[in-house]
Each structure stands twice: as C-alpha cells, then as structure tokens.
C-alpha cells in the first residue's frame, strides 16, 4: 500500500487557523505593537494559502502574490513602527484604547 502525500486541505485549514489566531490577538490585545505583530501573522497565514494553491494548481501566480504581500508588509512595518514611535513621543503610551483621536 502507498500512503497519500499531505493533501492541500490540511495546509488550507492550518493557514485558516493561523489567521483566526491572528484575528483574535488583534481584537483582544491592547498594546499597539502586539496588534501589529498579530497583523503580520495574518499576512503570513494568507501567504501560506497562496503558496499552497500555487503548488497544487501548478501555477506561478501565487508565489508572485506572496512576494508582493511580503514587500507590502515590509513597507507597512517601516511606516507603522515610525507612527508608533511618534505616538509614544506625544502621548507617552501606545495603548490603542487611549489613542483614539486622529488629531490632538
């Protein structure tokens, strides 16, 4: 008998679970940096979906999309962390419950 290789469904369910854990973290944590970390985790889960479908549908487009998602994530990290540093300078906190006004 031959054992079947890992089906794509398991990869998709795994990335769905990682995404859900990221959503729960982004909704429940109040530290802006931890919310940011959870968003990175969600982007990573979506990348796993792209790579899985690209592998099992034998197409290169998913890999390219994952590449672009990574680029956008890097740009987002640079700008987002600069915003956190600026908020901390003016408000002395980065708790997202207390930072609720766009202009102060």
């Amino acid at each position: 008998m031959t054992i079947p290789s890992v089906p794509p469904v398991l990869y998709l369910i795994l990335s769905g679970m990682l995404f859900t854990i990221g959503v729960i973290g982004a909704l429940t944590r109040r530290n802006a940096i931890v919310v940011f970390i959870c968003i990175e985790m969600m982007l990573n889960a979506v990348n796993l979906t792209f790579i899985t479908l690209s592998r099992f549908l034998q197409s290169m487009d998913g890999v390219l999309f994952a590449f672009f998602v990574m680029t956008v994530a890097a740009a987002e990290a640079a700008v987002g962390l600069a915003i956190f540093v600026m908020i901390y300078r003016s408000r002395e906190t980065i708790n997202v419950d207390e930072v609720n006004l766009l202009k102060w």
């Binding site: 679970m17 990221g22 549908l57 672009f68």
Partner: protein, 175 residues
Amino acid sequence: MVENIGTIFQWLIFLGMAFTSLLASLLVITRKNPIHSALFLVLNFLCVAVLYLLLQSQFIAIIQVIVYAGAIVMLIVFVIMLLDLEEELRSGLKLFYSKVIGGVLAVLFLIGIIYAVAGTSLTGKTGSYTPDKISANVKVFGEVLFTQYLFPFEIVSVLLVVAIIGAVILSKKRT
C-alpha cells in the same frame, strides 16, 4: 514500505511544523511581555518557512527567513526596546464583552473557512508549472516577475520609496 519513506517524512515534518506554528502563534497572543510575543513570532515564521520548503517554494522560504524573521521582527524588537512599555504588564489581559464577541466571531469565521475548504476539491485551472519545472525556482520566478508582472514590480518599487520617505519624515524631530 521502502517507497513510502519519503511520504512518511513529509507527514512527520508537516505535522510537527503545523503544531509548532499553532503553539507559537497561541503563545504570541497570550504572552504579556511584547518581547516574548516578538520572539515567538520568529518561531512561527520559521515553521511556516519550513512548510514553504515542503511545498517546493525554496525562494519564498528564504525570503521569509530573511525579510520576515530577520528584518521585520528585528524592527519590531528594536521599537519595543526603544519604548517603555511597562504599564502594559500591569494592566494585563482583561476580558470585556467586546473581546468575547470578537473572539466568537473569529471562531465562526474559522468554521466557515473549514466548511468551505474541506468539502470541495481544488477546482481552479491547472497551470503549466509542474513540480519538476518549479524546482528551478528562482529562474522561473524571475522570468514571470520580469515579464508578466513587470508593472506591479515597478509599482512596488515606488511603494518602497514612499515608505522610506514616510518613515524618515514621521520619525524626524519636529522643529
């Protein structure tokens, strides 16, 4: 049995990496210290990079380790050390109704994903990049990137320049 040994190793690696990444992501959202969250995030990224290797995308796996686990997490850890986040440790993780409702909705979302994925097989049109063709990963990737996806590539370069300028202007000392 002998011809199955590769498949058995594939299953072992997949299950190990899946459980480790789930455990690491649970630890990311439950640790109170943000530094611990960032370090478990590295573990999560490395496990997903191994899954990319299992899916025969070596290039994305290497980019994942360099860009995500290297550069982005390094930035996050740097900013955490720059800021003084002690008050988060004292306030802790209290449960409010909004958090409970959000968590329940997220779990419902997961159930929806599993329902949508588990019942059906992949129905998309199968492309021409078979696994043995993809094994020359970087070459194929570059060919597609610089022909079919040339315009998004240029857009992304503009986006990176905008991000650099934005980060510099934001963190500049106001006069």
